[in-house]
Amino acid sequence: MTTDLVRQEVKPTDGIKHAKKEVNWTKYILISLMFLYLVVFLLIPLVFIFVKAFEKGAEVYFAAITEPDALSAIKLTILVAIISVPLNVVFGIAAAWLITKFQFKGKQILLSLIELPFAVSPVIAGLVLVLFFGPRGVLGPFLNEIGLKIIFSVPGIIIATMFVTLPFVARELIPVMQAQGKTEEEAAISLGANGWQMFLRVTLPSIKWGLLYGMILCNARAIGEFGAVSVVSGHIRGETNTMPLHVEILYNEYQFSAAFAVASLMSLLALVTLLIKTWIEWRTEKH
């Protein structure tokens, strides 16, 4: 191989194109391997959910998702998401603002602490909440006195969801705000805007896509959380059952079609989440 030849071959943008024929072979083998792996591990399971859900016909399907227990599970799941996602947004914005716009000691530790819930098993998340808020927990006697029940009731489910979803919005916003810098906000302030105006007119428009991205991921996790919620819920049918817990009960009672029917609703939501996510990524890439 002369250097001239290599040069000519290397020039094109598509990576290493020298020894073209051989590389193409590797390419097709690798692409096929990837497709095979993804079909077996992702596509087949996904299709299977819907096949199983409609196995006994549309009537059984709709009966399964409209029976009272299912409806109350859906309602509770929506309630949990409606409360925990906005709270997570407030926290995420505050934490990202703090970390990217100010210098202070212990920033690195704070960053690690924000990621902490990802490293903790959901079951342990549930356990620690029981230890803290539970009837025999540290706050137990106090909560009992003021008549507030957290564990084995709805507030516990919401707190458990807040625990496991804590990092979602913050970790999406931090890189976005970091890249943004703070000159624009400083300009707004020195031109006389108050904090609120600056936030609504300068900060929010520049972080909205990152925020939306974090929110849909947070929402997906909030709706699907199983382990942590399972520990703190107490599994009271029609009261403290979320959709994933309802699926578990149906499955353990061998009502497979009904279990997969409710599961298919959540899968649909997962697909919508992926779609929005891909759309945001495509958008931000284009701009």
Binding site: V6, V10, D14, I16, E22, L30, I31, F41, L42, L43, I44, P45, L46, F48, I49, K52, L87, V90, F91, A94, W97, L98, K101, F102, L110, L113, L116, A119, V120, S121, V123, I124, L127, V130, L131, F132, V138, M162, F163, L166, G195, M198, F199, L217, A220, G224, F226, G227, P244, L245, V247, E248, A259, F260, M266, S267, A270, L274, E281, W282
Partner: protein, 279 residues
């Protein structure tokens, strides 16, 4: 004067954002999490050791460890392959597949759990093929590993992808023009750069696998001394209101998770350092 002005941060909201951040984190995560250590310190060293080394618990740790390790290993290999194909090759449907990779993150774990259990059951779509060879998947450690492979699939892909995208082609081209073969380029130029993100993704998948509950609990079958995982042991102790026992098991898992977290952080630092050096 100017200098002083520059030093002073004019942006508002330090107190407010600090307050919200600390309040939220302390109340939801940090204080509850510290309960584990307080609760277990009341247990006493002797009882603590007795619980975490009891046959059943020790076996559950072993199963959790082994399955999470194997699953993370498989994910490291295929994650690298998928990231490579997605970054380096053009083919139809690439963007859809790229988005599809995150399915395990978006799909509720319980849904993944019942789906994989039915799919790999004796008569399931995939399980029946293995039945022909008398291989049982559901309700065995193999099933647990498959569930963890599903859950951990995106980690390595998402760690490797950005590094591969930012990798400068010039280095490879230089190696090629100096006469290096494809294998040499991959092993000596590309792979060393990819090793830190692969390891970081591996640790993330491993840590997730250790703690995973929803997707595993269905396919595991939870037979004592056979397919019980550590998170399930915590759950079963809790159901018997044995808080001390549950806490002791949790402490060991937390310590392991923290070690994983530290390793991941170090690897990411190493990876970043690597990037700067090559620039």
């Amino acid at each position: 004067m100017k200098k002083k002005y520059k030093k002073k941060n004019v942006l508002p909201g330090f107190g407010l954002s600090l307050g919200i951040t600390m309040l939220y984190m302390s109340l939801i995560v940090l204080i509850p999490l510290s309960m584990v250590f307080i609760e277990s310190s009341q247990l006493g060293w002797h009882d603590f050791i007795k619980i975490v080394t009891s046959d059943r618990v020790f076996h559950a740790y072993k199963i959790s460890f082994a399955t999470a390790f194997v699953a993370a290993l498989v994910n490291a290999v295929f994650g690298l392959l998928i990231a490579w194909v997605l970054v380096r090759y053009r083919f139809p449907g690439k963007r859809i597949i790229d988005g599809f990779i995150d399915l395990p993150f978006a799909l509720p774990t319980a849904v993944a759990g019942i789906t994989l259990t039915t799919l790999y059951g004796k008569d399931g779509w995939l399980g029946q093929f293995f039945s022909l060879f008398h291989i049982k998947i559901a309700f065995t450690p193999i099933g647990i590993t498959i569930a963890l492979m599903f859950i951990g699939l995106p980690f390595v892909v998402r760690m490797v992808q950005p590094v591969l995208e930012n990798m400068e082609k010039e280095v490879e081209e230089a190696a090629a023009s100096l006469g290096a073969s494809k294998q040499q380029i991959f092993l000596k130029v590309i792979f060393p750069e990819l090793l830190p993100p692969v390891l970081a993704g591996f640790s993330l998948a491993f840590a997730r696998g250790l703690g995973e509950y929803g997707s595993v609990v269905f396919i595991a079958g939870n037979m004592p001394m056979k397919t019980e995982i550590a998170p399930f042991m915590i759950m079963s102790k809790l159901e018997q209101f044995d808080y001390a026992g549950a806490t002791a098991i949790a402490v060991v898992m937390l310590v392991i998770s923290f070690v994983c977290l530290i390793v991941i952080n170090l690897l990411q630092k190493w990876s970043r350092k690597h990037e700067f050096q090559s620039e």
